[in-house]
Protein backbone atom coordinates (compact mmCIF):
# COMPACT_ATOMS: atom_id res chain seq x y z
CA UNK A 1 0.00 0.00 0.00
CA UNK A 2 1.50 3.35 -0.99
CA UNK A 3 2.12 6.09 1.53
CA UNK A 4 -0.36 8.42 -0.16
CA UNK A 5 -3.08 5.78 -0.08
CA UNK A 6 -2.45 5.21 3.61
CA UNK A 7 -2.72 8.93 4.32
CA UNK A 8 -5.98 9.11 2.33
CA UNK A 9 -7.37 6.25 4.41
CA UNK A 10 -6.27 7.90 7.66
CA UNK A 11 -8.03 11.12 6.65
CA UNK A 12 -11.20 9.16 5.76
CA UNK A 13 -11.20 7.29 9.10
CA UNK A 14 -10.60 10.54 10.96
CA UNK A 15 -13.59 12.13 9.24
CA UNK A 16 -15.78 9.13 10.16
CA UNK A 17 -14.53 9.33 13.75
CA UNK A 18 -15.19 13.08 14.05
CA UNK A 19 -18.66 12.79 12.51
CA UNK A 20 -19.59 9.88 14.77
CA UNK A 21 -18.22 11.65 17.85
CA UNK A 22 -20.26 14.76 17.04
CA UNK A 23 -23.42 12.65 16.68
CA UNK A 24 -22.75 10.86 20.00
CA UNK A 25 -22.02 14.13 21.85
CA UNK A 26 -25.14 15.79 20.44
CA UNK A 27 -27.42 12.88 21.30
CA UNK A 28 -26.04 12.14 24.74
CA UNK A 29 -26.10 15.68 26.18
CA UNK A 30 -22.34 15.80 26.51
CA UNK A 31 -20.90 18.51 28.79
CA UNK A 32 -20.46 21.93 27.24
CA UNK A 33 -16.82 22.60 26.31
CA UNK A 34 -16.79 26.14 27.75
CA UNK A 35 -18.77 28.23 30.22
CA UNK A 36 -20.01 30.41 27.37
CA UNK A 37 -21.27 27.31 25.54
CA UNK A 38 -23.06 26.23 28.73
CA UNK A 39 -24.62 29.70 28.97
CA UNK A 40 -25.82 29.61 25.35
CA UNK A 41 -27.22 26.14 25.87
CA UNK A 42 -29.19 27.25 28.95
CA UNK A 43 -30.33 30.33 27.10
CA UNK A 44 -31.76 28.19 24.30
CA UNK A 45 -33.32 25.76 26.74
CA UNK A 46 -35.01 28.64 28.62
CA UNK A 47 -36.07 30.16 25.30
CA UNK A 48 -34.48 33.55 25.86
CA UNK A 49 -31.72 35.47 24.07
CA UNK A 50 -29.36 35.22 22.32
CA UNK A 51 -28.06 38.09 24.42
CA UNK A 52 -24.88 40.13 24.14
CA UNK A 53 -22.40 39.27 26.90
CA UNK A 54 -21.60 42.42 28.88
CA UNK A 55 -19.18 41.19 31.53
CA UNK A 56 -18.05 38.17 33.52
CA UNK A 57 -17.47 38.75 37.24
CA UNK A 58 -15.58 36.50 39.64
CA UNK A 59 -17.12 35.80 43.05
CA UNK A 60 -14.55 33.61 44.69
CA UNK A 61 -16.19 33.44 48.11
CA UNK A 62 -19.67 32.78 46.88
CA UNK A 63 -21.95 29.88 46.06
CA UNK A 64 -20.82 30.19 42.45
CA UNK A 65 -17.40 31.15 41.15
CA UNK A 66 -18.51 33.41 38.30
CA UNK A 67 -21.38 35.57 37.16
CA UNK A 68 -21.96 36.34 33.49
CA UNK A 69 -24.06 39.40 32.70
CA UNK A 70 -25.67 39.76 29.29
CA UNK A 71 -28.26 42.01 27.76
CA UNK A 72 -30.75 41.86 24.93
CA UNK A 73 -33.32 44.26 23.55
CA UNK A 74 -35.88 43.01 26.05
CA UNK A 75 -33.96 42.26 29.22
CA UNK A 76 -30.89 41.12 31.09
CA UNK A 77 -29.69 37.56 31.55
CA UNK A 78 -27.44 36.38 34.36
CA UNK A 79 -25.58 33.10 34.43
CA UNK A 80 -23.83 31.86 37.55
CA UNK A 81 -21.61 28.81 37.50
CA UNK A 82 -18.77 26.94 39.15
CA UNK A 83 -15.57 26.06 37.36
CA UNK A 84 -16.11 22.40 38.18
CA UNK A 85 -19.32 22.12 36.15
CA UNK A 86 -20.58 25.07 34.07
CA UNK A 87 -23.58 22.99 32.92
CA UNK A 88 -24.92 23.05 36.48
CA UNK A 89 -24.99 26.84 36.37
CA UNK A 90 -28.11 28.87 37.05
CA UNK A 91 -29.65 31.19 34.49
CA UNK A 92 -31.86 34.10 35.54
CA UNK A 93 -33.66 36.58 33.38
CA UNK A 94 -34.84 40.07 34.27
CA UNK A 95 -37.00 41.96 31.76
CA UNK A 96 -36.15 45.60 31.15
CA UNK A 97 -38.12 48.15 33.14
CA UNK A 98 -38.75 51.67 31.88
CA UNK A 99 -35.78 53.90 32.72
CA UNK A 100 -33.87 51.48 34.94
CA UNK A 101 -33.79 47.80 35.81
CA UNK A 102 -32.84 46.25 39.14
CA UNK A 103 -31.57 42.73 39.55
CA UNK A 104 -30.21 40.54 42.30
CA UNK A 105 -29.20 36.90 42.20
CA UNK A 106 -31.26 34.46 44.24
CA UNK A 107 -28.99 33.45 47.09
CA UNK A 108 -29.69 31.58 50.25
CA UNK A 109 -29.36 33.78 53.29
CA UNK A 110 -27.02 31.18 54.82
CA UNK A 111 -24.76 31.36 51.78
CA UNK A 112 -24.52 35.10 52.14
CA UNK A 113 -23.94 35.07 55.90
CA UNK A 114 -21.19 32.52 55.80
CA UNK A 115 -19.44 33.78 52.69
CA UNK A 116 -19.08 37.36 51.52
CA UNK A 117 -21.83 38.81 53.71
CA UNK A 118 -23.39 41.03 51.06
CA UNK A 119 -25.97 40.62 48.34
CA UNK A 120 -25.00 42.00 44.94
CA UNK A 121 -27.78 44.21 43.55
CA UNK A 122 -27.34 45.41 40.00
CA UNK A 123 -28.93 48.49 38.44
CA UNK A 124 -28.99 48.99 34.68
CA UNK A 125 -29.93 52.22 32.97
CA UNK A 126 -29.40 53.93 29.64
CA UNK A 127 -28.97 57.28 31.41
CA UNK A 128 -25.42 58.66 31.29
CA UNK A 129 -25.21 58.77 35.10
CA UNK A 130 -21.87 58.14 36.80
CA UNK A 131 -23.01 57.35 40.32
CA UNK A 132 -26.16 56.11 41.98
CA UNK A 133 -27.78 55.66 45.34
CA UNK A 134 -30.12 52.79 46.13
CA UNK A 135 -32.51 52.98 49.07
CA UNK A 136 -34.38 49.87 50.15
CA UNK A 137 -37.35 50.36 52.45
CA UNK A 138 -38.92 47.36 54.12
CA UNK A 139 -42.01 47.43 56.30
CA UNK A 140 -43.01 44.62 58.63
CA UNK A 141 -45.67 44.97 61.35
CA UNK A 142 -45.84 48.75 60.75
CA UNK A 143 -42.15 49.10 61.45
CA UNK A 144 -40.07 50.53 58.60
CA UNK A 145 -36.35 50.08 58.11
CA UNK A 146 -34.30 51.80 55.42
CA UNK A 147 -31.07 50.52 53.88
CA UNK A 148 -29.00 52.86 51.70
CA UNK A 149 -25.97 52.17 49.55
CA UNK A 150 -23.96 53.95 46.85
CA UNK A 151 -22.26 52.71 43.71
CA UNK A 152 -20.13 54.06 40.87
CA UNK A 153 -20.90 53.16 37.29
CA UNK A 154 -18.81 50.21 36.14
CA UNK A 155 -16.90 50.14 32.88
CA UNK A 156 -19.56 47.85 31.45
CA UNK A 157 -22.24 50.45 32.23
CA UNK A 158 -24.07 49.13 35.29
CA UNK A 159 -24.13 49.91 39.01
CA UNK A 160 -23.24 47.21 41.52
CA UNK A 161 -24.60 47.79 45.03
CA UNK A 162 -23.31 45.69 47.91
CA UNK A 163 -26.13 45.22 50.38
CA UNK A 164 -24.70 44.04 53.69
CA UNK A 165 -26.79 41.11 54.81
CA UNK A 166 -25.38 40.52 58.26
CA UNK A 167 -27.80 41.34 61.09
CA UNK A 168 -30.84 41.96 58.90
CA UNK A 169 -34.34 41.97 60.33
CA UNK A 170 -36.45 38.80 59.89
CA UNK A 171 -37.64 38.41 56.34
CA UNK A 172 -36.09 41.60 54.92
CA UNK A 173 -33.61 39.59 52.88
CA UNK A 174 -36.37 37.57 51.22
CA UNK A 175 -38.71 40.54 50.79
CA UNK A 176 -36.06 42.50 48.91
CA UNK A 177 -35.15 39.52 46.71
CA UNK A 178 -38.82 38.90 45.94
CA UNK A 179 -39.47 42.53 45.07
CA UNK A 180 -36.45 42.80 42.77
CA UNK A 181 -36.67 39.46 40.97
CA UNK A 182 -40.48 39.31 40.84
CA UNK A 183 -40.14 35.64 41.72
CA UNK A 184 -42.17 34.58 44.70
CA UNK A 185 -40.87 32.38 47.49
CA UNK A 186 -42.45 29.06 48.29
CA UNK A 187 -43.77 30.48 51.53
CA UNK A 188 -45.78 33.61 52.23
CA UNK A 189 -43.88 36.68 53.38
CA UNK A 190 -45.66 39.32 55.45
CA UNK A 191 -44.39 42.82 54.69
CA UNK A 192 -43.71 45.22 51.86
CA UNK A 193 -40.57 46.48 50.17
CA UNK A 194 -39.86 49.42 47.93
CA UNK A 195 -36.65 50.62 46.35
CA UNK A 196 -35.57 54.04 45.14
CA UNK A 197 -32.76 54.43 42.66
CA UNK A 198 -31.25 57.92 42.36
CA UNK A 199 -28.94 58.61 39.44
CA UNK A 200 -26.31 61.37 39.56
CA UNK A 201 -24.23 63.01 36.82
CA UNK A 202 -20.52 63.93 36.91
CA UNK A 203 -21.29 67.17 38.80
CA UNK A 204 -23.08 65.21 41.51
CA UNK A 205 -26.48 66.54 40.46
CA UNK A 206 -29.52 64.30 40.68
CA UNK A 207 -30.50 63.33 37.11
CA UNK A 208 -33.32 60.86 37.62
CA UNK A 209 -35.17 58.93 40.29
CA UNK A 210 -36.78 55.53 39.76
CA UNK A 211 -39.16 53.77 42.10
CA UNK A 212 -39.48 49.97 42.41
CA UNK A 213 -41.58 47.95 42.07
CA UNK A 214 -42.65 49.78 38.92
CA UNK A 215 -46.13 48.24 38.91
CA UNK A 216 -47.93 46.88 41.89
Amino acid sequence: MSKQRKIRKIVLYLLIFILSAVVICALSNAPSPTAEAAFRRKEKQQMIGPAEIVEILDFEDNRYDHLLISRSEYGYTFFEWNDSNPDDGVLSYQPRSTGATLYCTKYNYEDMSYSQGWLPIFAFTDQPAVSAKLTLTTTQDSETITYSMDAKRSGAGYFLFRWKTTGLRGSDFWLVQQMITGEYSNYILEGTTTATLELYNTKGELVETHQFPTTQ
Partner: protein, 254 residues
Protein backbone atom coordinates in the same frame (compact mmCIF):
# COMPACT_ATOMS: atom_id res chain seq x y z
CA UNK B 1 8.02 -26.36 -7.72
CA UNK B 2 8.80 -23.23 -9.68
CA UNK B 3 6.00 -21.32 -7.98
CA UNK B 4 7.27 -22.54 -4.62
CA UNK B 5 10.74 -21.14 -5.31
CA UNK B 6 9.27 -17.75 -6.19
CA UNK B 7 7.11 -17.78 -3.07
CA UNK B 8 10.09 -18.65 -0.89
CA UNK B 9 12.10 -15.84 -2.42
CA UNK B 10 9.27 -13.34 -1.89
CA UNK B 11 8.75 -14.48 1.71
CA UNK B 12 12.43 -14.06 2.54
CA UNK B 13 12.60 -10.68 0.81
CA UNK B 14 9.62 -9.29 2.71
CA UNK B 15 9.94 -10.97 6.10
CA UNK B 16 11.48 -7.89 7.71
CA UNK B 17 8.53 -5.65 6.75
CA UNK B 18 6.70 -5.40 10.10
CA UNK B 19 3.29 -4.15 9.02
CA UNK B 20 1.34 -7.20 7.77
CA UNK B 21 -0.80 -5.59 5.03
CA UNK B 22 2.34 -3.89 3.62
CA UNK B 23 4.24 -7.20 3.73
CA UNK B 24 1.49 -8.97 1.79
CA UNK B 25 1.16 -6.16 -0.75
CA UNK B 26 4.91 -6.01 -1.44
CA UNK B 27 5.10 -9.79 -1.67
CA UNK B 28 2.28 -9.86 -4.23
CA UNK B 29 3.97 -7.13 -6.23
CA UNK B 30 7.31 -8.97 -6.26
CA UNK B 31 5.60 -12.21 -7.22
CA UNK B 32 3.91 -10.54 -10.17
CA UNK B 33 7.24 -9.06 -11.22
CA UNK B 34 8.98 -12.44 -11.04
CA UNK B 35 6.25 -14.10 -13.08
CA UNK B 36 6.37 -11.40 -15.74
CA UNK B 37 10.14 -11.70 -15.97
CA UNK B 38 9.96 -15.50 -16.25
CA UNK B 39 7.26 -15.31 -18.93
CA UNK B 40 9.37 -12.89 -20.93
CA UNK B 41 12.37 -15.23 -20.80
CA UNK B 42 10.26 -18.18 -21.85
CA UNK B 43 8.93 -16.19 -24.77
CA UNK B 44 12.55 -15.73 -25.83
CA UNK B 45 12.88 -19.54 -26.01
CA UNK B 46 14.39 -20.45 -22.63
CA UNK B 47 13.22 -23.60 -20.81
CA UNK B 48 11.12 -23.58 -17.70
CA UNK B 49 13.94 -24.33 -15.29
CA UNK B 50 16.37 -21.94 -16.94
CA UNK B 51 13.91 -19.10 -17.06
CA UNK B 52 13.23 -19.54 -13.33
CA UNK B 53 16.93 -19.59 -12.46
CA UNK B 54 17.61 -16.53 -14.60
CA UNK B 55 14.70 -14.70 -13.03
CA UNK B 56 15.81 -15.39 -9.46
CA UNK B 57 19.42 -14.59 -10.33
CA UNK B 58 18.46 -11.27 -11.83
CA UNK B 59 16.55 -10.33 -8.64
CA UNK B 60 19.59 -10.96 -6.44
CA UNK B 61 19.70 -12.29 -2.89
CA UNK B 62 16.41 -12.12 -0.99
CA UNK B 63 18.33 -11.76 2.31
CA UNK B 64 20.11 -8.67 0.97
CA UNK B 65 16.95 -7.03 -0.33
CA UNK B 66 14.95 -7.69 2.86
CA UNK B 67 16.50 -4.89 5.02
CA UNK B 68 16.15 -2.42 2.17
CA UNK B 69 12.46 -3.19 1.75
CA UNK B 70 11.93 -2.96 5.51
CA UNK B 71 13.62 0.45 5.49
CA UNK B 72 11.29 1.68 2.73
CA UNK B 73 8.13 0.24 4.32
CA UNK B 74 8.26 1.51 7.91
CA UNK B 75 5.31 0.25 9.94
CA UNK B 76 4.20 3.39 11.83
CA UNK B 77 1.88 4.84 9.22
CA UNK B 78 0.26 1.43 8.84
CA UNK B 79 -0.17 0.98 12.59
CA UNK B 80 -1.65 4.49 12.84
CA UNK B 81 -4.05 3.73 10.01
CA UNK B 82 -5.19 0.50 11.72
CA UNK B 83 -5.65 2.24 15.05
CA UNK B 84 -7.71 5.10 13.59
CA UNK B 85 -9.74 2.60 11.58
CA UNK B 86 -10.60 0.65 14.74
CA UNK B 87 -11.56 3.82 16.64
CA UNK B 88 -13.63 5.09 13.70
CA UNK B 89 -15.52 1.80 13.43
CA UNK B 90 -16.17 1.77 17.19
CA UNK B 91 -17.49 5.35 17.32
CA UNK B 92 -19.54 4.88 14.16
CA UNK B 93 -21.14 1.76 15.69
CA UNK B 94 -21.91 3.69 18.87
CA UNK B 95 -23.41 6.56 16.89
CA UNK B 96 -25.62 4.17 14.93
CA UNK B 97 -26.68 2.52 18.20
CA UNK B 98 -27.61 5.95 19.65
CA UNK B 99 -29.61 6.86 16.55
CA UNK B 100 -31.50 3.56 16.59
CA UNK B 101 -32.30 3.82 20.32
CA UNK B 102 -33.61 7.36 19.83
CA UNK B 103 -35.77 6.31 16.89
CA UNK B 104 -37.20 3.42 18.89
CA UNK B 105 -37.90 5.67 21.89
CA UNK B 106 -39.50 8.31 19.65
CA UNK B 107 -41.70 5.77 17.85
CA UNK B 108 -42.74 4.26 21.18
CA UNK B 109 -43.90 7.68 22.40
CA UNK B 110 -45.79 8.35 19.19
CA UNK B 111 -47.56 4.99 19.29
CA UNK B 112 -48.27 4.84 23.02
CA UNK B 113 -51.42 6.60 24.20
CA UNK B 114 -51.13 9.80 26.17
CA UNK B 115 -54.16 11.29 27.79
CA UNK B 116 -55.59 12.85 30.88
CA UNK B 117 -55.43 9.62 32.87
CA UNK B 118 -51.84 10.58 33.56
CA UNK B 119 -52.75 13.85 35.23
CA UNK B 120 -52.04 13.42 38.93
CA UNK B 121 -54.76 15.78 40.14
CA UNK B 122 -57.50 14.55 37.86
CA UNK B 123 -59.86 11.75 38.84
CA UNK B 124 -60.57 10.91 35.21
CA UNK B 125 -64.01 12.54 34.83
CA UNK B 126 -64.29 15.83 32.99
CA UNK B 127 -67.45 17.86 32.33
CA UNK B 128 -65.95 19.20 29.18
CA UNK B 129 -63.29 17.70 26.91
CA UNK B 130 -61.93 18.62 23.48
CA UNK B 131 -59.03 18.06 21.06
CA UNK B 132 -57.92 21.57 20.07
CA UNK B 133 -54.82 20.40 18.13
CA UNK B 134 -53.36 23.89 17.98
CA UNK B 135 -49.64 24.22 17.48
CA UNK B 136 -46.83 26.71 16.92
CA UNK B 137 -43.05 26.76 16.54
CA UNK B 138 -40.45 28.76 18.44
CA UNK B 139 -36.69 28.37 18.98
CA UNK B 140 -36.66 24.92 17.39
CA UNK B 141 -39.42 23.62 19.67
CA UNK B 142 -42.91 22.72 18.47
CA UNK B 143 -45.69 23.39 20.97
CA UNK B 144 -48.96 21.57 20.52
CA UNK B 145 -52.08 21.37 22.64
CA UNK B 146 -53.74 18.07 21.84
CA UNK B 147 -56.27 17.82 24.66
CA UNK B 148 -58.08 20.16 27.04
CA UNK B 149 -60.90 19.73 29.50
CA UNK B 150 -62.35 20.92 32.79
CA UNK B 151 -64.39 19.67 35.67
CA UNK B 152 -66.91 22.24 36.93
CA UNK B 153 -66.59 20.96 40.48
CA UNK B 154 -62.89 21.78 40.63
CA UNK B 155 -63.18 24.68 38.15
CA UNK B 156 -59.73 23.76 36.82
CA UNK B 157 -58.95 23.62 33.11
CA UNK B 158 -56.52 20.83 32.26
CA UNK B 159 -54.34 21.18 29.18
CA UNK B 160 -52.09 18.56 27.63
CA UNK B 161 -49.20 20.49 26.16
CA UNK B 162 -46.85 18.48 23.93
CA UNK B 163 -43.43 19.93 23.17
CA UNK B 164 -41.49 18.33 20.34
CA UNK B 165 -37.79 18.96 19.90
CA UNK B 166 -34.77 17.61 18.05
CA UNK B 167 -32.82 14.92 19.88
CA UNK B 168 -29.78 17.16 20.34
CA UNK B 169 -31.80 19.87 22.08
CA UNK B 170 -32.44 20.07 25.82
CA UNK B 171 -35.96 19.90 27.16
CA UNK B 172 -37.35 23.44 27.32
CA UNK B 173 -37.92 25.09 30.68
CA UNK B 174 -40.92 27.25 29.83
CA UNK B 175 -43.83 25.89 31.88
CA UNK B 176 -43.15 28.20 34.87
CA UNK B 177 -43.56 31.21 32.60
CA UNK B 178 -46.75 30.33 30.73
CA UNK B 179 -49.67 32.61 31.48
CA UNK B 180 -53.23 32.64 30.13
CA UNK B 181 -56.13 34.90 29.31
CA UNK B 182 -59.68 33.87 28.42
CA UNK B 183 -62.45 35.33 26.25
CA UNK B 184 -64.00 37.03 29.31
CA UNK B 185 -60.80 38.94 29.99
CA UNK B 186 -59.77 36.86 33.03
CA UNK B 187 -56.01 36.83 33.51
CA UNK B 188 -54.21 33.78 34.87
CA UNK B 189 -50.59 34.58 35.81
CA UNK B 190 -47.71 32.14 35.45
CA UNK B 191 -46.35 30.12 38.34
CA UNK B 192 -43.29 32.35 38.28
CA UNK B 193 -45.32 35.50 38.78
CA UNK B 194 -47.97 34.36 41.26
CA UNK B 195 -47.61 33.96 44.97
CA UNK B 196 -50.59 32.10 46.32
CA UNK B 197 -51.63 28.66 45.14
CA UNK B 198 -55.33 29.33 45.86
CA UNK B 199 -55.50 32.17 43.32
CA UNK B 200 -56.24 31.83 39.59
CA UNK B 201 -53.00 30.90 37.83
CA UNK B 202 -51.37 28.54 35.37
CA UNK B 203 -49.61 25.58 36.97
CA UNK B 204 -47.79 22.47 35.80
CA UNK B 205 -49.39 19.31 37.18
CA UNK B 206 -46.91 16.75 35.93
CA UNK B 207 -44.88 15.67 32.98
CA UNK B 208 -43.60 12.76 30.95
CA UNK B 209 -40.69 12.87 28.60
CA UNK B 210 -38.72 10.90 26.07
CA UNK B 211 -35.81 11.88 23.88
CA UNK B 212 -37.75 14.08 21.51
CA UNK B 213 -41.11 14.78 23.15
CA UNK B 214 -42.08 16.21 26.49
CA UNK B 215 -45.69 16.09 27.68
CA UNK B 216 -46.62 18.86 30.10
CA UNK B 217 -49.89 18.50 31.97
CA UNK B 218 -50.83 22.12 32.57
CA UNK B 219 -53.71 23.36 34.67
CA UNK B 220 -55.42 26.73 34.80
CA UNK B 221 -56.59 27.05 38.40
CA UNK B 222 -59.99 28.63 39.12
CA UNK B 223 -60.86 28.79 35.45
CA UNK B 224 -64.05 30.57 34.42
CA UNK B 225 -65.99 27.80 32.66
CA UNK B 226 -68.18 30.35 30.81
CA UNK B 227 -65.24 31.40 28.65
CA UNK B 228 -65.46 30.48 24.96
CA UNK B 229 -61.73 30.34 24.45
CA UNK B 230 -58.54 30.61 26.39
CA UNK B 231 -55.06 31.55 25.19
CA UNK B 232 -51.82 30.19 26.60
CA UNK B 233 -48.99 32.72 26.26
CA UNK B 234 -45.21 32.71 26.49
CA UNK B 235 -43.68 36.14 25.93
CA UNK B 236 -40.26 36.25 27.58
CA UNK B 237 -37.43 38.11 25.88
CA UNK B 238 -39.33 39.04 22.74
CA UNK B 239 -41.02 35.69 22.12
CA UNK B 240 -44.70 35.65 21.29
CA UNK B 241 -46.08 32.14 21.58
CA UNK B 242 -49.86 32.09 21.60
CA UNK B 243 -51.92 28.89 21.67
CA UNK B 244 -55.66 29.54 21.53
CA UNK B 245 -57.96 26.77 22.72
CA UNK B 246 -61.49 26.93 21.37
CA UNK B 247 -63.89 25.72 24.07
CA UNK B 248 -67.10 25.86 22.02
CA UNK B 249 -66.84 22.34 20.57
CA UNK B 250 -66.10 19.12 22.42
CA UNK B 251 -68.23 17.25 24.96
CA UNK B 252 -68.26 15.25 28.14
CA UNK B 253 -65.38 12.89 28.90
CA UNK B 254 -65.61 9.79 31.09
Amino acid sequence: MQQENFENWCRKATEQIRYGPDRRAVSEELMAHLEDHRDALRAQGLGEKESEQHTLASMGSAEEIAPQLAEIHKPWLGYLSSLIKAVAILTATLAIFFCISICVSWLHTLISSRNFDSIPANNGTLDYYCHPMVSTWSDGYRFQISEAGYSKQESDLYILLEIFHWPWMDQPGVSDHLWAIDSLGNYYPSMHASQYSDQPRVTAQGWQSTTCIILRFMCIKQFDCDAQWVELHYDRDGRNIVLRIDLTGGGKHE
